[in-house]
Symmetry: C2
Subunit: 734 residues, 2 copies
């Protein structure tokens, strides 16, 4: 039995051992609903046992129970792994079916921690008619369950953080390690950041060069930047496939986890598999999806309004107001922005969630993608609106701000209680404003975000824990821990309180950063350098966040960065447009400082944007064509796998010889066949007595030699009879 135990990834590892626990289910026992909670607990244990999981219960902190589960026997786990792989093959994730003999299958491909953990998680959460326990935290009968979490492997985490802190670049092994531990979902994030980081080296170097020698608003920089973003995007699309093939998860996004909240209209039979499927009319969903249009408009109006208001106020204070307290007043717009935007954002985010729920997706991935898409609209507004406002309103049409400025001026007049008119400078458009904003965003904002991401949560955790200790003595569990389990249970209770790690937050940050680079870095070419430094730290701080700040992530599979890929493509395209606008509007610079911005021709902006966009499309086509000419590692691997499987199948069923013949058909014994066949047919004809016209036609010349002889006589005759009559030149059939 021990050897099977090893094969399915037993994880007993020294001091920080997790006692072989696969998952902890954290159930609350609200005092008022004790009876229901107790009933739910009993049902939970029974259901888990029924699907083949062993359970132990311990007391949690704060009126809660910790239910520990693991798969009851190695044999059963091995069987589950085998079945999961078989289903992967049925779903087209694997090109070969797993070995028929289970033990050999596991020896050939050992089970990683992530695979084991994923299988157990699915066993707990899959619907009951799908062979799982159907436990959905927070829903229906399972509403007392707060979370289902795997336990951290602290030894691994320590080594991980230490190792990453000591190296500049990650390599494939590092990513493989993450994948084996936390699954492909998380590993794909790190792989993406790592690729992005490497790719940033070029624009960093070139940005530095541009900053030193070309200055801001350089055509050449914008062009190179656009090219770079296209290459990066196309590269990643291919890299993603390669990674997925290497990790054996290509096609994983086709295998969908059902959403327990999905409401279906009727059940129908799948026309392909004949199984009953739940149907919700796609037309109905599309109708609901149309609500996204007013939603997007609302976002634009609300957030846009805030941005325009605050920005015009800022412009007034910085560039027109000339009274006292300018330093203090200068903070007002920033304070306003940083309090209003999050407030409105939160409301709209909620709206996005509600809208996505209405859209009633059948599976989790579709739901997440739809939600992320809507959130992206919001992120887009909050991250880029101020810059876009400067670029497309303030710089070209500064004059239309004058009513706003006058409004602020009169407001200031009123607020100041001053009878004398407030002094005001003449309003002049300052095209360098956009560079200032970019500077603020890349330096200040990155530092702030780093603090809020790493330092604040840490402090929060400390303070929270302290507060808990002080405020109530009853966080200690109801039942005394056994001494040998005490440390372990303390740790588990702590992990239960941690936040759930959501990889999409981290993706969002990177994608928004990419947008800043592709859209606005022409205004401040050093941006890429800052991003490079930031991302080095970011990668490590994300690791720390996972290892210390969050519950251990459930190792879901993924074969792509999903909706973020679309976002990247969109930003890369928009980059071509906005870079062109920046260069045209802000460049050709010295004029602007003399305030002669009014003569910028709309025709000029539009045509440079138009040209840039089509340059972008052209470059994209060229890069795609170029890349399609070379077979990537992953494509080759996939092709090889397919080829080997088919070859094996052929050999198995048809025998060695035939397989080779089919793969590279050699010469066959045509001559023999022909002779025999002809002779046979001849015989047949003579036996029958009355040969058909067809048989007669084909027996005119008996055998090859006769054909040749007849042909030669024809040639001779033709030539001798007609002498030098000129034949038509041979022209080949196309």
């Amino acid at each position: 039995m021990t050897s099977l135990e090893k094969l399915v990834g037993s994880t007993d590892n020294g001091d920080n051992r997790n006692f072989g626990v696969d998952f902890v289910i954290h159930q609350l026992i609200p005092a008022q609903e004790r009876t229901e909670a107790e009933a739910a607990f009993i049902q939970l244990i029974e259901t888990l046992t029924k699907v083949g999981l062993a359970t132990e219960v311990r007391a949690g902190s704060d009126n809660s129970l910790l239910i520990f589960t693991k798969i009851a026997s190695w044999d059963f786990l091995a069987q589950q792994v085998y079945r999961s792989r078989l289903q992967d093959w049925l779903n087209g994730l694997r090109s070969s079916a797993p070995e028929r003999e289970i033990r050999r299958a596991l020896e050939d491909e050992p089970v990683t921690e992530a695979e084991r953990s994923r299988i157990v998680y699915l066993l707990i959460t899959k619907p009951q008619n799908d062979g799982g326990a159907g436990i959905t935290p927070g829903n229906g009968q399972w509403r007392y369950i707060r979370s289902i979490l795997p336990l951290h492997d602290h030894n691994f985490n320590k080594a991980w953080i230490k190792k990453w802190g000591q190296k500049y670049l990650l390599n494939q092994d590092d990513l493989d390690e993450i994948r084996d531990k936390f699954g492909e979902g998380v590993a794909f994030y790190f792989a993406f950041v790592q690729s992005y980081f490497r790719f940033l080296l070029f624009p960093s170097a070139f940005g530095l060069f541009a900053w030193l020698f070309l200055g801001k608003f350089s055509y050449f920089y914008a062009l190179v930047n656009c090219l770079w973003s296209v290459v990066f995007f196309e590269f990643w699309k291919q890299k993603e496939v390669d990674m997925a093939v290497q990790w054996g998860v290509r096609g994983a996004s086709r295998v969908q986890l059902p959403r327990p909240e999905f409401k279906w209209e009727y059940e129908a039979e799948d026309p392909v598999t004949g199984e009953p499927i739940k149907v919700y009319s796609p037309m109905k969903r599309i109708k609901t999806q149309l609500l996204q249009i007013p939603f997007a408009l609302a976002c634009i109006v609300v957030l846009g309004g805030v941005v325009v208001t605050c920005n015009s106020l800022e412009v007034y204070i910085n560039e027109m107001y000339d009274g006292g307290g300018k330093a203090v007043l200068g903070l007002i717009p920033t304070i306003l922005l940083s309090s209003l935007i999050p407030a409105f954002s939160a409301v709209l985010m909620k709206g996005a969630e509600v809208l996505t729920q209405w859209e009633n997706y059948q599976n989790k991935d579709a739901y997440n993608a739809a939600l992320i898409q809507k959130q992206f609209v919001l992120n887009f507004m909050t991250s880029y609106m101020a810059l876009l406002f400067t670029l497309f309103v303030y710089i070209p049409f500064g004059e239309i701000l004058i009513p706003f400025l006058n409004f602020w001026h009169s407001t200031a007049q009123v607020v100041s209680f001053n009878e004398n008119p407030l002094p005001a400078k003449e309003f002049k458009i300052n095209p360098a404003r956009i560079s200032g904003q970019m500077f603020y965003l890349t330096i200040t904002a990155q530092i702030v975000s780093l603090l809020t991401q790493v330092v604040v949560p840490y402090v929060k955790r400390q303070v929270f824990a302290e507060a808990k200790k002080l405020s109530s003595k009853d966080t200690t569990p109801a039942v005394q821990d056994r001494p040998e389990e005490h440390e372990f249970l303390k740790r588990v209770r702590k992990e239960c309180e941690l936040e759930v790690y959501d990889v999409s937050t981290d993706y969002r940050q990177m994608v928004i950063q990419f947008g800043h680079l592709s859209m606005f870095s022409s205004a401040w070419p050093l941006a890429a350098c800052c991003f490079l430094v930031n991302n080095w730290v970011e990668l490590r701080s994300d690791a720390v966040k996972i290892a210390i700040g969050s519950q251990r992530p459930i190792p879901f599979r993924a074969d792509t960065i999903g909706p973020w890929l679309t976002a990247l493509g969109f930003l890369s395209w928009l980059g071509s447009v906005s870079s062109a606008a920046i260069v045209f509007l802000c460049g050709g610079s010295t004029d602007h400082e003399r305030g002669t911005m009014s003569h910028i021709s709309a025709w000029g902006v539009l045509s440079s944007v138009f040209l840039a966009e089509h340059f972008y499309f052209l470059v994209q086509m060229a890069v795609r064509y170029f890349m399609s000419k070379f077979e990537s590692y992953g494509q080759q691997k996939e092709r090889k796998e397919r080829f080997l499987i088919k070859k094996r199948y052929l050999e198995e069923t048809l025998g060695q010889g035939v397989a080779e013949q089919a793969a590279t058909p050699g010469l066959t014994h045509g001559e023999k066949i022909t002779r025999e066949a002809l002779e046979e047919q001849e015989r047949e004809a003579s036996i029958k007595g009355h040969a058909s016209p067809e048989d007669l036609f084909w027996q005119r010349q008996r055998g090859v030699q006769e054909t040749i002889t007849v042909g030669r006589s024809m040639i001779e005759k033709a030539v001798t009879e007609k002498g030098a009559s000129k034949p038509a030149q041979p022209s080949p059939r196309a």
Copy 2:
């Protein structure tokens, strides 16, 4: 034997019988090179016999030989069919391997005429190391071979033409018939024209409506037209896949026929299959491909120059010249255009061919695609340049034509030998000019093209035959025909003289027509009506062309309309841009007639083009999204096939029960396993004497009942001890 004979498609059919001939090889015997030709003939017969083909030789007309071939025996043919299907499966064209027993395989899927013919053709032409005879007409040792042709089935052809002449719309059966007879390559063309024809009904009706009620240059018409072209394009992309799945040729374009002219640099081992492959560096090819850019520029300059010259002359004569002989002079530009354009085109077409040969493609499809792409640039210029000139030069910038017009005026002055200055009207831009051109193109040009396609070749054939009869008496073959074969041989000799059918000529016509519709029909909304009528006739006249005017096509396979799809997409996109320009430049009309065209703002055109283009992208995205939500017939069929095969495989190898479990895993006897496993582990632990901490942890609660009891006691304790202390609200794990 007879039953196998039927299975592989014996084709003996009454009066117009072809004596079971699969292919005729037409070899010339130039009198001067008699010895070489004779040697080649002997080699030909020997090579054919060696690969399993039976041969008969007869005299051809004009110093040539007709070598008739068929597969020597039914058994051998059956074996070849089986092998070809096996290779299809290896190449991923089929989802299931053919039945292992050959006879059953042929019973399950009977051999069509097209399949049989294709297999024999490949046997004749495939390289020798690939199991074929390696006969490449016109190349090297086979330079005396003029063509390899299958023979027409005249009974079928007659019935076909008659049937199609009597129905309005073709249905799937008609297309299937074509496919079984002439292969998927030709069938795809008819399927495309048929779909296009059906789709044309809408713009015809709407165009008529627009012509009656909206007039020319209507925004609304342009919008609807753009939408229609997007929908048609996306529809066809899906339809194409459906057809390919239905005909079992999906993936056929991946199986490539090698080009005999390909020159490789070195041989390498395929990293996947281990077979030797011939390599030509893709980088080198890409470098050669870059020559396309100067080539395209040359096309634009040369053809553009001719168009500008002739058009400005025409403008001068029609709109400025006021002297005598206007009617006669008006013909000059047309004559010039229709003599110069074909002349220059021919040279450039030759250039395109040479360039494509330099690019040195490894297989025929890639070569054809590259050639068609270059030819398309030329077709584009000759078909649309005049209209684009009117749209983007004459209408907005008519003034820049004035130097040209003055040049023509002074030329006319000199030529007329008239001392008095020639009378001239004032030059006025006439925006309706583009409508006139469209009218000419759709009505006149379509009629002309129809004539040149059907009537001219017919007359040519008649005259040619007559001339031949008169000029030389020696077209009669050197050897007298046997009376029972005389009619047949006469027919074969005639078919040898016919042209090779090239489907790309027909595609070109349709695609160029689609371009006229999508790009310029806003100027003359009735265009679609004309195209509808034209295409009804076209479809039939193409059938006539194949049946009577050409050699029977070799039934190549295809799973797409190939490079024409790209061309369609390109024209559909360009349509959005050019329609917007037409509407903006020519619409808002009454002004123009008063000659106040000078104030058209470039800004206006550019912004409407910009908007239209992005509207196009948006619509395209929406249509694609919408269509992706519904599984098409072909996709479903493919999914079903895959599913069934895997299911069968599972059942075969694992037994019925397991297959069902894997497909829809039901509940397993978890309880039993758990109990047994726990007990076993317990026993193990006690035997060992020293249980590990992990074992101890999991044996704290023996069995489910104890876990439940312990949990209940914890709940009780917690609640009673802490009374009404408020627990945290359950918040589900996301």
